[in-house]
């Protein structure tokens, strides 16, 4: 019996992983098309990322002489695997495969491994451009992780005060008790502010303009990615796409956890639920990443850090204070 469950879980996990990979790359293709249209161009075909990956797999994998070879080759694998594994923990309309084996704190850690892996790989490559890119990536990481932690802990705190749920960090908790319905009007604005600050973190997480500083093409010749080629570069390319979708999935799981069956009269727990989830994630990505990347120029790393640590953090803090105010007013 036990063996059967493990085999079942592994099979499901593999399906989820490949599906997540496929959908991330599809969204990347959609993004390029949308951004191109916004810039009055035609843009590449929707399946362009797949064509790019296929090409990259066929290319030679060059490792620089001055690189620390085992680190250089290991980091892309670490980055992609940690980004993909995220999807085993986030509920997507249906319960996650590794449901209840991991919680929000684990997800937060998983989200911060890919940038670290990129930075380590860049330092290991021995290129001065990559080193500058890695420095920027780390500065950016510190800045937005700060904001993200505030948001996560605000959530957890809200849930712990308002519900009997002892496992407030569980990813199912927002689905069981949607935070919007736990608060009054002032708290509603508070949660909206938390949402805005999380959406502002998205360009940083996803590596898009205005915060694609670590890969700034014109300034440091692709930065962290400059020495990677072939197979390694294909893995990192996929990592970038997966990070975007993964973070959008997290935002949906936290802020918009409702299933489609609540709104429309369809049977519960069918494959329509994941599809609805994917649509929600797409909307989140459009408004926080695609739209902005066509509309503004790139930050410098100190401007980005200042933006996150002062402006966005203040918004998140204000959101938390409003929730606090709301709960106090209602007698919690």
């Amino acid at each position: 019996m036990i063996d059967y469950t493990i085999a079942y879980t592994i099979a499901n996990a593999l399906i989820i992983i490949f599906a997540a990979l496929f959908i991330s790359l599809l969204f990347h293709g959609i993004e390029r098309k949308i951004v191109a249209r916004m810039q009055a161009r035609i843009g590449p075909p929707l399946l362009q990322p797949f064509i790019d990956i296929k090409k990259l797999f066929m290319k030679e994998n060059i490792v620089p002489d001055s690189a620390v070879k085992w680190l250089f080759n290991l980091m892309p694998i670490v980055a992609l695997s940690s980004a993909i594994v995220l999807f085993l923990y986030i509920p997507f309309g249906m319960p996650a495969i590794l449901n209840e084996h991991g919680d929000l704190i684990l997800v937060l850690y998983l989200l911060s491994i890919p940038p670290l892996a990129l930075a380590i790989g860049a330092f290991a490559s021995g290129s001065s451009f990559a080193a500058v890119g890695a420095q920027r990536e780390l500065v950016l990481l510190i800045s937005y992780e700060f904001v993200l932690s505030v948001v996560i802990f605000s959530f957890a705190w809200l849930l712990s005060v308002c519900t009997q749920n002892t496992n407030v960090f569980s990813l199912n908790a927002p689905a069981l008790n949607p935070p919007w319905s736990l608060v009054g009007p002032i708290g509603f604005i508070g949660i909206a502010l938390l949402l805005i600050s999380t959406l502002a973190v998205m360009p940083g997480k996803a590596g898009k303009i205005p915060a694609d500083i670590a890969e700034a093409k014109t300034e440091i010749a692709e930065g962290v990615l400059v020495e990677y080629s072939g197979f390694n570069l294909a893995l990192l390319y996929m990592t970038q796409a997966v990070r975007t979708f993964g973070f959008a999935a997290l935002i949906v799981a936290l802020f918009f956890p409702w299933n489609a069956s609540i709104f429309i009269d369809i049977p519960k727990d069918t494959v329509l639920e994941p599809i609805f989830f994917i649509l929600k994630a797409g909307l989140v990505m459009f408004f926080s990443a695609f739209f902005i990347s066509a509309a503004v120029a790139r930050f410098k790393v100190d401007q980005a850090a200042r933006f996150y640590i002062s402006t966005v953090f203040s918004i998140a803090l204000l959101g938390l204070l409003l929730i606090l105010l709301d709960l106090t007013l209602r007698g919690f």
């Binding site: 810039q39 021995g126 290129s127 093409k217 014109t218 410098k300």
Partner: protein
């Protein structure tokens, strides 16, 4: 680790092959953390031996060599060359030809400035503007193709005049283009003057004071952005500019203050587009009738030129600044000496001042703001065993040099 890093200097080579540079030039910046503390410029990567070649071709052939000095400065180099020969040989160009030359020069200026605005936006990561300006640029390239037969390397100038005239239908097409550009200009000025992210990336970056600009003999929009009203079209009455009474523009005319930073240099070129549009309109209206060539028969022209002995010097306001050609003829088949000085030649002196205390992220936009046309600056490559370098070899050398310079840092 952070402390050690801030004390160590790292040499980052920008170029000769770098995504930020459209042409090869090597700028070695020494950085500490993210601040630039020293620069060193080496040219010569695309030096092609043009002045040497020019002394082995007859003057008419050399016009076409002069055209190919640069892909963007396509009218100004042959124009200066023709004017220098006309100065040496005492040839008076017919008035209609002078007006036609002015129209071509201003069309080229619009094209070049639109290209620059796109490149500047690309350097700061604002690709939407790149695509918009380069899309708009297609219109002026279409008009140029209609008038001359080609988008660049037009072959329209000849010693003593121009080779083709502008008919009434072509003039009306030019006016259509001008009205299209009214709308484009309105949109671009809204973007460049109001957008916050552009100002954030270019304001107070790479400031060149008025005194530095005068001492370093800067030219063109780079100098005008620092408040010096140097404009060869205003100061020197060549072609039809003597009649048009052009006035040099400075950032005072558009934003009300002069700071001499990258932002000023960028918007200088924006308002010059407007100025060029007005000049073309006036030229079309005031152009006199008459011949377009001093001497129709090229054989007779060449024969005349072979018996010329004298020197000529000519100035032209290229999109990037003052351009000067010097020619010496000594009753020979070929000119005896030819010197070309492109505006970027002079403006490169500003790079050291601009990059002083810049951050690494600002280096591309700061250098791009002087609108370097490196091809104009380098004009001779002597192909030898060592110097014929392919792209890969250049990159290899660049990377090796970086490793050698880094030593044991990182």
């Amino acid at each position: 680790m952070a402390n050690e890093k801030s004390k160590e200097k790292v040499c980052i080579p920008i170029g000769p092959v770098h995504p930020a540079l459209k042409e090869p030039i090597q700028i070695e910046v020494e950085i500490q953390g993210e601040r630039v503390v020293g620069t060193n410029i080496t040219l010569g990567h695309v030096h092609r031996g043009i002045e040497w070649i020019g002394t082995r071709r007859n003057p008419i052939q050399t016009i076409y060599i002069a055209e190919r000095i640069c892909g963007i400065c396509n009218i100004c180099h042959p124009l200066a060359f023709c004017q220098a020969i006309e100065n040496a040989a005492n040839i008076r160009v017919p008035e209609r030809a002078e007006y036609l030359r002015t129209i071509y020069a201003e069309l080229e200026r619009i094209h070049s400035h639109l290209l620059f605005l796109g490149v500047a936006a690309h350097e700061i990561g604002f690709d939407s503007i790149l695509h918009y300006t380069w899309l708009a640029r297609e219109k002026v390239l279409d008009v140029i193709e209609m008038l001359t037969g080609n988008r660049i390397t037009k072959g329209i100038l000849m010693i003593g005049g121009v080779r083709r005239d502008i008919s009434k239908e072509q003039a009306s097409k030019i006016r259509e283009m001008l009205s299209y550009y009214e709308k484009v200009y309105k949109k671009l000025s809204k973007i460049f003057l109001d957008d916050i992210t552009i100002k954030m990336r270019t304001r107070d970056i790479g400031v060149v004071s008025k005194k530095d600009a005068l001492r370093l003999c800067l030219v063109g929009p780079t100098a005008r952005a620092s408040g010096i009203k140097k404009d060869t079209r205003q100061d020197f009455p060549y072609a039809a500019y003597g009649d048009l009474n052009v006035r040099a523009l400075t950032p005072l005319d558009i934003v009300g203050e002069i700071r001499g930073d990258s932002y000023d240099r960028t918007i200088m070129r924006l308002i010059e587009i407007k100025q060029s549009m007005e000049l073309i309109e006036r030229c079309l209206k005031e152009m006199p009738e008459g011949p377009i060539l001093y001497e129709q028969s090229l054989q007779r022209l060449l024969l005349n030129l072979k018996s010329v002995s004298g020197e000529g010097v000519a100035l032209v306001e290229a999109p990037r600044g003052e351009l000067i050609h010097y020619i010496r003829m000594e009753k020979n088949d070929f000119p005896s000496a030819w010197k070309v000085r492109a505006p970027t030649y002079a403006n490169l002196h500003a790079v050291g001042v601009i990059l002083n205390n810049c951050e690494l992220a600002d280096v591309p936009i700061a250098v791009a703001s002087i609108d370097p046309c490196i091809s104009c600056t380098n004009r001779a490559v002597i192909a030898s065993e060592k110097i014929v370098l392919s792209q890969e070899k250049l990159h290899e050398l660049c990377v090796e040099k970086t490793r050698a310079m880094k030593g044991d840092s990182l």
